[in-house]
Symmetry: C2
Subunit: 247 residues, 2 copies
């Protein structure tokens, strides 16, 4: 048995089996723009993977929670105020060798937001840009570290979250029409949905959306009622997507 110490490094510093690690957060930031699901990437300004696109992220500071770190990186690297978007943890990635610099544990966060008016391009030297997820999925765009694998898991998570939670509303602005909401589903699931049945399902799911009383006038056609997010996050019943995903 090892001697007991109050500080972990007192009794671990001589161990050759356990060593210190560095803690980072990485962000999978999604939005829907131009009928495409887009992800925010930055061009790395440092080694390793200098010049290669990557998910924004960075080291978690002392005395900072993971959530706080994610919000800070969101602001620093992407110039985005995170208070208005949905942020949730995806998971931890810590395979030895995932980072050539040593044992770097990254905690991936999922961020969902409306098409952001804020011009992206962080305060850092890194350049931020929106990329269609399709370009990452089909390999046209290569990412640093294990970010492609992380992004793939993030995507799966987003697609499933749309079924069981009100996550789709995070892609819309403060208020939105049911067509706006339906477009989010169609783009992310890659399938068409019947407008009338979609409407009924959404309105029959308690707490999903709330009518504002306001209207929105489309360029042509009948005005549409505006809604805002309801109080429910878990959908009951859920909006299950059809078997055939693509087309």
């Amino acid at each position: 048995m090892r001697p007991l110490g109050v500080r972990v490094d007192d009794w671990l510093k001589d161990s050759d089996e356990v060593g210190p690690s560095w803690l980072t957060v990485d962000l999978a930031i999604f939005t829907v723009r131009d009928d495409q699901l887009m992800v925010l990437l930055v061009e790395r300004g440092l080694e390793p993977f200098h010049g290669m696109p990557a998910m924004p992220g960075g080291y978690v500071q002392k005395n900072e929670t993971l959530h706080e770190g994610a919000l800070r990186e969101l602001a620093e690297e992407a110039g985005i105020d995170g208070s208005r978007l949905h942020l949730e943890q995806l998971g931890a990635y810590a395979d030895p060798g995932r980072d050539p610099r040593g044992r770097v544990v990254t905690v991936a966060y999922l961020a969902l937001g409306p098409d952001l008016p804020a011009p992206v391009g962080g305060t850092d030297a890194t350049r931020a840009f929106w990329a269609p997820v399709a370009h990452v999925e089909d390999g046209r765009l290569d990412l640093a570290f294990d970010h492609r694998a992380i992004l793939t898991e993030a995507l799966e998570e987003v697609r499933r979250k749309l079924e069981y939670t009100a996550a789709a509303t995070a892609f819309c602005g403060e208020t939105f029409t049911l067509t706006d909401l339906r477009t989010v589903y169609q783009v992310i699931w890659g399938q068409q949905l019947d407008p009338s049945n979609f409407r009924r399902k959404v309105l029959n799911t308690t707490g999903f959306v709330q009518p504002t009383g306001e209207q929105w006038l489309p360029p042509t056609g009948r005005p549409a009622a505006l809604y805002r997010r309801g109080q429910a996050w878990l959908l009951n019943p859920p909006l299950i997507r059809a078997e055939t995903p693509g087309q």
Copy 2:
């Protein structure tokens, strides 16, 4: 801009904002026994929280993945061979102050297994024991660190996983009757299910279970057909539980 180094500690060692952290895994191991959902706990043999019950876990070694570390701790602290049970990551917990020894990042894993013939009680000095989750939920049992919060999230996850995945089969042995499977649902959801409707739902969900052709003879009553896990993990359609969770 900081100078670029290949090793992370070259350029971080002088930083007062970022410091090293220690990486652990903690395991929320569940089983169903005596019509109760049980969780495996250990009595801590070291400071901090000496003598207090905690989820089994420990430091991740160099050159070890999180998954490998979880399997190792499962064997060392609980004396369980993890190859036969379902193991999946829950999330990372890293709040500063969650461990008095410094910045300790823990990655929580969820483990689901059948009522284990293996006598628990690890190879460590720590004593392992099964505790009803109810005792933790209602506060009768206090846990070290933030393990109670982690366990609460793990429980939510298990309850939801039963709806959308074949996770319930992980609580059964290699082969099981539909009543065995139904009991798992009833115990974990805390609600009664109609045997005949449950049977139909399970058999109509493609790939959920597979008949073995074997039978099991109950102490009294008609023999029951035995099944094994199907190839599907995601259930389509899912088994949604009724609105009212506890009676």
